[in-house]
Each structure stands twice: as C-alpha cells, then as structure tokens.
Amino acid sequence: MKRTRILVLLLALVLCMSMAACGGGSSTGGGSGDTPAASGAGDAGGGSDGAQIACVFGAGHAEGINDKAFIQDCWEGIKEFGDANGKTYAYYQPIDDSKQSFLDAYDTAIKNGAEVVLTVGNEPSDSLVDATRDNPDVKFISIEATGFEESAMPNHYSILMNATDAGWLAGVAAVREGYKSLGILPCVAIPPVDMWTWGYVQGANYAANKYGIEGITLQHHYLNNWSASPEIQATAASWYNSGVEVIQCNTAGGNTSIIAASDAAGAAVFGSDKDQFDEGETVVTSEVVFRKPIVISSLESAYDGSFPGGTFWLPGVEADAAGLAMDRTRFKNYTKDMYDEDYADLKNDVGGIRSSMITIYDIPEVDDMWNAVSPKYIEFINIE
C-alpha cells in the first residue's frame, strides 16, 4: 500500500519531467517552444507572440485581477492601451508574496516576451531593485510600490498615487454632509494605504474647523487583511451597530465586505480606489485615484521613447488624478457645487491647504498623526 503511494508520486514526477525534457531546453529569450501565441486567451490580449505587457501583483489578493479595486483599475488601463496599440498583455500572480516568488514571476513574464512589466501594489517593493538591475532591457513601471521616492534604476518608473488628496476631499465631504461618527477601516499599515487615512483625517479636521462643527468622532482600526472576508464584514457590522454612521474603507478587495455590512445596517460607506457606486445600495460616493489614465500614459511613454526611467511621480489633484466619484452619489446635503469648491481650494492650495498638509512622508510614527486633529472639534479613537 505504501509502496503504491510512493510509486504514484514517483511516476507522476517522472512523467512530468520527461515531458519537460521533451518540451525543449532553451533558457533564453522568448520564441521558444513554450512561448504563448496568446491570441484571445481569456483575458490575455492577442496579436503577436508572447505577452508584451505583463501585469504582476501579489499572491495575497485572493480576488485576483477582478478585485473591483486598484488591481482591476490598473488592468483595465493595460487592456485599453494594449487593444488600442496592438500590444499583447497578460497578468502574473506569483506563487507567494516572497521576494523570490516575484523575481520568478518577472522572469517567467520576460521569458514569455514581456517588454514592459507593470507591478501593482506594495508587495513587489522588495523585488524591484534586483529585477530592474538584472533586466536592464525591460521597462518596469510600479504602481504603489514604495522605497523608490529618491532612487530608482534607469529602467524603472515609480508611481505612487497621491491618495491623500482623495482622502482629504472625502473627509471634507463627510463632515459637510453632516456625519458625526466617522469610521476608518484601512487594510494594513503601509504608506499607499495610510495616505487615504491621513487625507481623510485632515479633511475632516479642516471642515470641522472651517465650519465650526463640534462633536465629531473619528474611529480607526487596521484590519490587517485586504481580501473580502466574513471577519471584515463582522467588524464593520459591529461598528455600525455601535453608532458609526459612515466608514471610509481602504481595504482593496475587502471593501466589498464593508459595503455588504453597510447595506445590511442601512448605514453609509465611502468606497475607494475606483467608483464603487454599483457595489452596494449605501455607497455614498467613492474616493478615487485615477490609476487607469496614469497606467495608459505611462505605457505610452514606454513605447514612444519618452520613458521617464529613474523617476518618481506622486500624481494627485494637480494632475487631476485624485478626487471623489461625483457623477453618481447618494449624498443628501453635499452637492456637486460644494465639491467643486473644495476641489478648487485644494488644487489651488488656498490658504496653504495642500502645501501644509501632513503626508505619509512627514511623519515617522503613525500615532503622531492624531496630534494633528483639533481636540476641540474631533475626538480620535484608535483601536489596536
């Protein structure tokens, strides 16, 4: 019986290895026996041999490419660019989130013909130094990777969306709408996520001070999870039950769990990343950073010779890359005119709003952020 088991596995290995040997031994470049033709392959774009544009994101995102949040937003940009310019594209999710797994994913993508590798999220940060050094002929564009603000390789264009701007506008909107008990449920304590929070807190603080609105409570808790789960939904539900009126969710794929809790409680929620109006009946609006046009413009630069390799970009309202999705909202008091006024104030830095804003790079300690709010107007509760 035991011998049979070992035999099964040994045979499976031998079978596969022999097929591998038959598959060819070329270890360099695309165009070998296994290079995909990629014509109409599921989500992969067709046209020529191999996928020319590869999208790589973390294995921990259980929802995959269709996370209804930032990964999907970037992927839609890649698809739009690829289809318009006759470039093939595919996405790769590494086996796990270790540096080695990311390096293997890049290598597989490049061996399959990738000319441009676009990474999404903070997880690839560790692997990008090695990958850009080892593949000088391949252009890397990172969206939301951190650690490249001051130095990046000449073939690496680092983009971090300025979510602080979108968060600020949401904070102002929440207070002007009349909410008094505000909840913040970010996924993890990393800069691309915390930026939403910093903006939201400062926006609420700004509006409370400007309009003299007292008695606002801000409740904050890291979920330490970014995929939809019953635990996230239960946490959000308990917050709504305890009197929280609106939750700002920055949990990528986990947003849908918070929206579900909000729908069940008949409360209110701010979506994030992309317009999540259709994800629930109680999504008031969504804080949006427009990754899709940024992805398209960065891919254009990779192919038209103007690739800004070695540079870092933090696009926000100055590039019209951040804001609220105001085309469809469920606000009762906060109008489009009020939004336009706030947006213009932020963009034009009226009264030094934007230039004096505390960003994630100004504060080494997370807890220092809460000292920035006026205790007269806002009470801050951080739940560890």
């Binding site: 097929m19 270890s27 996405y91 080695q100 293997d104 903070n122 080892d134 951190t146 304590a189």
Partner: protein, 375 residues
Amino acid sequence: MDDRMPDTRKKVAKFLSSEGFSSLIAAFLTIVLGLFISFILLFIFERNVSLDAFRVMITGSFGTIGVQKGMARVLFYATPLMLAGLSFGFTLKAGVFNIGVAGQFVVGLLTGVIVAIRCEGVFGDYLWLAAVLCGACAGAAWGAFQGFLQAYFNMHPIVCGIMMNYIGLFLITAICEADPMVYAKGRGWTEVVPLKAIMPDLGLDRIFGQTSAVNIGLYIAAALCVAAHFVLKRTTFGYEIKAVGHNAYASQYAGINIKRTVILTMMLAGLFAGFGGAIQHLSAADTHYAITDALPQQGFTGVSIALIAMGHPIAIIFAALFIAYLQVGGLGMQAYGLQPDFVNVITSLIIYFCAFNFVFKHWYGRLFKWLRRAK
C-alpha cells in the same frame, strides 16, 4: 526453444499479475485520469489555449525558463511544502488531524525572524542555524500545547487547530509589533533579517546557478522526512503512534500512554511546521514579512500534500515536489491568461483520483484474469 516458451510465458504472466506491476498500472491510470479531466476542464473554459497551456503546465514551463532554472524553482518551493506536509502527515499516523499546521508554520517563521534580528551579535556565522532551530522549537511548543489541549481537555482536533492557528498568528504578530527592532512601524512588515541569517546554499548554487534560491533547507527537509519515516518504522515510539492511530482504546489496554503519545506527536508535527516556516523566510535575503491576518498558504497546501501521500513521510517528499512542479507550471500558464487557481483545481483532482487507486488495481486484476480465461 519451444520447451522454454511456456516458462517464459509463465514468467511474463506472473510479472503482469504481480502486485508491483498492477500498482504501477493503477498509479499510471490515476495520474493520467487526473490530468485528463484537468485537460477537459481547461478545454471547456479556455478552448483556444487549452493545448498550449496544458503543455506548459505539465512541462513545468521548463521549455521557456530552462531546465536548470525550472528545477531550482521546483526545489525551492517544495522545501517548505515538504515540511508542512510532513507536519500534517505525521499526525495522521496517530489518528490526529493537525489542521493547526498553518499556525505552527507562522509561529516558527516569525520566531525565526525575531531571533535573526535580535541575536545578530550572539551567534555569529551560525545565526541562520540558531534562527531556524528557535523557529522549529517555537513551532514544537505551539504544537505540543495543542496536543496538550486535545489530550487532557478532549478538545476536538479541528476546532482546536483552527482556533490555535489564529491565536498563534495574533500572538506572534503582537510580539513582533511590540518590538521596534523587529517591526517597521508604519510599513506593515518586519525588518529585513541580517545576511548571516540567510540559509547557506551549500554548493547548490553550482548546480542550479548563482541566482537560484535553493539552499540547505532542502537537505534539512528531506532529512526530516527520512527521519520521520525511521521513527515510524523502526522505533517503539513510532509503533505507539501507529497503534494509537489504529485503535486508541486497544493501545491504552496494551499499556500505551495515549495522552503522552498525542502530545509528543503534536510536538513533533509542530517542530516540522516550525522548521518549514523558518526555512521559508530565511531562504532569501532582503525580504520583509508582511504582517497580516492571513495564515500562510503553505500550511494548507501541506494538508493536500499529506493527503496525496496518505501520510507516508517518503511519499511526502515526492508529493511536495509534484505540487511545487505544478505550481511552477501554473505560473507559466498565466502567460495564456489562465488564473493561477487552476493549479489548485488540478491538485484537487489528483487527490480525488488517488482515492481511485485501489479501484483501478482491482479492475486491472479482473481484466488480467479475464484475458487469461479468454485464452
């Protein structure tokens, strides 16, 4: 010559009807059927690329990345899987369902990280060894605690395992987060471990290339599997484990201390998982570990591996290699627009078809008898 023919025919017939050959045929059918059903699914959902994608999966995409690099990847991913699989498989023998592998794995992993960062000046060049051993011991302690709860409080192994997974995860992450040397506050991950904490490659780089991440952990994992086999096969303790697994009441009647056996078995299972976790993270330099509420996937993949191998320690080595091979192939399949989850579907199918192994063997035996009668 003519006189010798019947003897030869008899020998061939004896070989064809032998236990070994019928096992071989059954094994072959198991794999072929599992892969065939996978291909049918692939054909239904991704008709245009099914042939190419399937070929990439079963060739491990070696054709594109090269055999040397492909083998390195398989061995690298298989190492922690072997240990996670062994952790589950070992307890199967005692009739205990160790669903707490993931918790023991992460406790071992983060203990390894803490020791690597905190004790840099203490252990010198053997920092990696100290970190791995401490990780393994932490996993063992966590496993033994689960065994204690099961043995003395009669807690259900599954409920206990699932709860202890999360308690272990939250406890060890809380310890990490409380230490500013270990946890990078505001970044959501641990600090990078020192270079001396990285597992040495022990000459494996000469076989698999400078960029390969295969390391001494592979030898440790394989050696532990062999050691576990030896313990089960050749020692009194191993006999006790198996006896308890077959019939706990009869074992107790025969004088075996069941409580002690369960606790020790769980302790060893935790030790294996702890080794796996520490080896997983200390296998590569410059890597942070992201602190999340998610349990490491290796812990659950290990359960699949142990089930494929039916808990046999040596078979677990091959099962881990096989699953890692499919994972590497699955990465290559994504070039065709296929989701990585497809590999999980194939793994599940093969597990299901392993259960048919005895059916195939039985059918083969009947077919052989029928052919002989027909003659």
